[in-house]
């Protein structure tokens, strides 16, 4: 990888240490994988938001998610920073920009001595009624993930995938559609997309999905009528049930009528992956960027240096080189390679 080299001076003070991404002049980590004194959390997924930090700064929605998932005392203190508001911190000015990944997800924009770094966390460009659309921020250093960093990954238009699901529900009124989806973000997005497509019957939830759906609703996102599978008086033929992926083929599903299992993830694009899961209806819907999304975003930031945190870095760094930019694979440990599992 001949084009993988560091620029002489750190851009906006950004560096990598044992806990992950660190900004020295501001003295804070971003999404650290071990407890630190000061952390900026991009979004509420478990691999980015861990308990035990001293002070945590995040968007108000992310803080609400953290408290629901990890408890009120998950950090020493919380500071909420709405999208777009500048904040001076040590020698740097920072602000949070929408990332479009899930409710509250943010990119961290750091300005220091005329140079700008953007740490995007996880982001996507596809439509999502439950998240503020991602904002393109031009910068010198862009830090991106590469979960779907191969040209074979292209997410299908969500409207078509939802259409596929609704067609299947219509054709199989005697079976329960059991959808495995990540409990934070993906589940709520799919429910909102089903509502937007006109599905207005109650949607049934596995117990593990209830609290976060409630939180979304409390924060003003309309998910329509939700019900708990544990309170169902029938085996729910013809209905849609959401469960965590781990419960798809669990004994729990025996309470449903000949479940037709669906799974929503960017991985479903690859047949071997979908078959390995044993799903009958793979839905290629993701909360991450697909390949075209990654490379158009990277190009549009205008950055000369691109750091790739985790995922399929090899192909993306190669592509970045072909585009005439400097790519660097950080290979950070601790971020999930698996979307939705």
């Amino acid at each position: 990888m001949g084009n993988m080299r560091n620029s002489g001076t750190p851009i906006a003070g950004m560096a990598v240490d044992a806990a992950g991404l660190y900004c020295a002049p501001g003295d804070f980590h971003i999404d650290p994988t071990r407890p630190v004194a000061r952390a900026i959390i991009t979004h509420g997924h478990a691999d980015h938001a861990r308990p035990g930090h001293g002070a945590v700064l995040a968007t108000p929605d992310t803080i609400a998610i953290l408290k629901t998932r990890l408890g009120e005392d998950a950090a020493g203190s919380f500071q909420a920073l709405p999208y777009g508001e500048p904040l001076g911190l040590g020698g740097v000015t920072l602000r949070l920009a929408p990332a479009g990944h899930i409710l509250g997800s943010a990119q961290v924009v750091i300005d220091h001595k005329g140079a700008r770094a953007v740490v995007s966390g996880d982001y996507k460009l596809d439509p999502d009624p439950t998240a503020v659309p991602s904002e393109l921020v031009r910068c010198h250093l862009f830090v991106t993930e590469a979960t779907f960093g191969l040209p074979v990954f292209r997410h299908e238009p969500v409207r078509e995938e939802i259409g596929k699901l609704l067609t299947s529900v219509g054709a199989n009124a005697d079976r329960t559609h059991l959808i495995g989806a990540y409990g934070l973000g993906k589940t709520q997005r799919l429910i909102a997309l089903l509502r937007a497509a006109g599905f207005d019957r109650p949607i049934w939830l596995h117990g593990a999905n209830a609290a976060l759906c409630q939180l979304y609703q409390a924060r003003g996102i309309d998910l329509g009528a939700l019900a708990h599978v544990s309170e169902a008086t029938s085996k729910l033929p013809g209905e849609i049930v959401f469960s965590p992926p781990s419960a798809l083929s669990d004994r729990w599903s025996r309470r449903l009528t000949e479940p037709l299992t669906a799974f929503a993830s960017g991985w479903m694009r690859v047949r071997a992956r979908a078959r390995q899961k044993g799903v009958e209806l793979p839905l290629v819907i993701s909360d991450h960027c697909d390949w075209p999304g990654l490379i158009t975003t990277i190009a549009a930031t205008g950055a000369e240096d691109i750091w790739v945190t985790h995922g399929r870095e090899e192909a993306l760094v190669h592509q970045i080189g072909l585009m005439g930019m400097r790519g660097r694979a950080l290979a950070l440990i601790g971020y999930e390679e698996n979307e939705g599992e």
Partner: protein, 559 residues
Amino acid sequence: MKAFANLLDRLSYSPSRNAKLRLMRDYFRHTPDPDRGWALAVLTSGLPFSFPLRRTLMDMMTRRMDPELFRLSRDYVGDTAETIALMWDAPLPARDMAGTGAASTMDPEPAGQTPPPPAAAEVAPSLRLSEVVEELALVGRNELAPRLEGWLDQLDATGRWALLKLLTGALRVGVSARLAKAAVAELADLGVDEIEEIWHALTPPYQSLFAWLEGRGPKPDVGEALVFRPLMLSHPLEAADWAALDLAQFAAEWKWDGIRVQVAAGNGAVKLFSRTGEDISSAFPDLVDKWHFDAVLDGELLVVRDGQVAPFNDLQQRLNRKRVSKREMEQFPAHVRLYDALALDGEDLRQLPLLTRRVHLDAWFSQRRPACSDLSELIGLADKAQLQQLWSQTRATGIEGIMLKRRDSGYVAGRPKGLWWKWKRAPLTLDCVLMYAQRGSGKRSSYYSDYTFGAWRTNASGAAELVPVGKAYFGFTDKELLEIDRWVRTHTIESFGPVRAVQPELVFEVAFDAVQKSTRHKSGVAMRFPRIHRIRWDKPGAEADRLETLLAMLEAPGS
């Protein structure tokens, strides 16, 4: 093309028969002619042409894609055609994509919304399956590449995948020709046999068939065509049936260990059909080329050398292939042992009683003496005790069992109750140890219901080890399934996706019809029709049977 691609896509992920039937029926109902007819052709007999694509595809890829990105993608996906289908329209790397905004002239204000990614290739509604098939029938090998490239440009990822599958001729979506015909039959609430009876008189794209099923046209005229007539099938003989059976009403025959076939001949042509109506004539020129008669006969396809029936394994060398070499015909000579006649010299005999049909068949056979065939003898028998005695010797004589047919039975298509019985030889059994359990599908998706079991052997270093000898997913009750499922969950050593390796402690008494040599299995042998006969909760795993015991059960050649 889109509807067809979606059908193949959904079929490939739907494990249950009913789900597949439903998908195909809905497709045939909502898709216009002639596309649905071509789809039916693809799902049944396949298209009359196939193209070697490897070279063509590799050439296209090197022109269109960065080799390193293709290599990384191919490694990840694991299948060349699928990789190409997925990355066909991936954006090409372009140096000028970074735009003019170098960082030094960076606008300090946010640049607003990210522009949407390049639009996915529009799926041309105009590209139809029939268009593709009709053009393929005309294009020469050299014209294929540009044509293919044009189609790939018009399709989405699923469409491209389906097109490449279509061209290579290997669908692998788990649909048999019979299942596809059953789906078609459901358009008019008919049984699949009614389709089989006219099938071989029809040609793609089957417009007359769909017209008839939708009440827009007459039943297609079979005319002089050699068609398959659905077979009369038997029921397994259970203990209660045996007790109630009045032997005086029945004729007995040996149950030969081959495959059931129907010979249809007339007007100078001969066809050999499998039990499900598949035309297998092309693989048996050593039979059909020698026959010149007008008849529809029912019999057993065997390999026979010097009047001796060879083991089933020999016959298998001749099955599931389109062509056969001279050497194979010499090494595994085909033969048909006849036991019934549906028609002779243009006269339909199906209404006549069995024994009357046999009289006609015997007379016809002694007159014509067709090559590579003989008659299945009727067993003269006095009483049940004697028959029982004969049955108990079937395994030793290499015969699969005994058939009991009512003397007065007409030839009734399907599986009528009480007319024909099959009394298979007693199964072999072996005590095996459960090694792996896999989750089932559909109703069984939350149960570990598919079992791989092994027998003990001593390895090179002298230690005892289990070697897999078979796989079974039936033979147990729902209640037993629940118990095994619970046991699997509490005795797991390791999980691989839907499969769990378990502690070598649960013994199954496995019943099977026979054991054959196999190069595809680590143990070197394969069981025929294995099923779980009993669960030996009482027996310690270490006391299960050894591989040597199974090897001793191998069928001796020529027995």
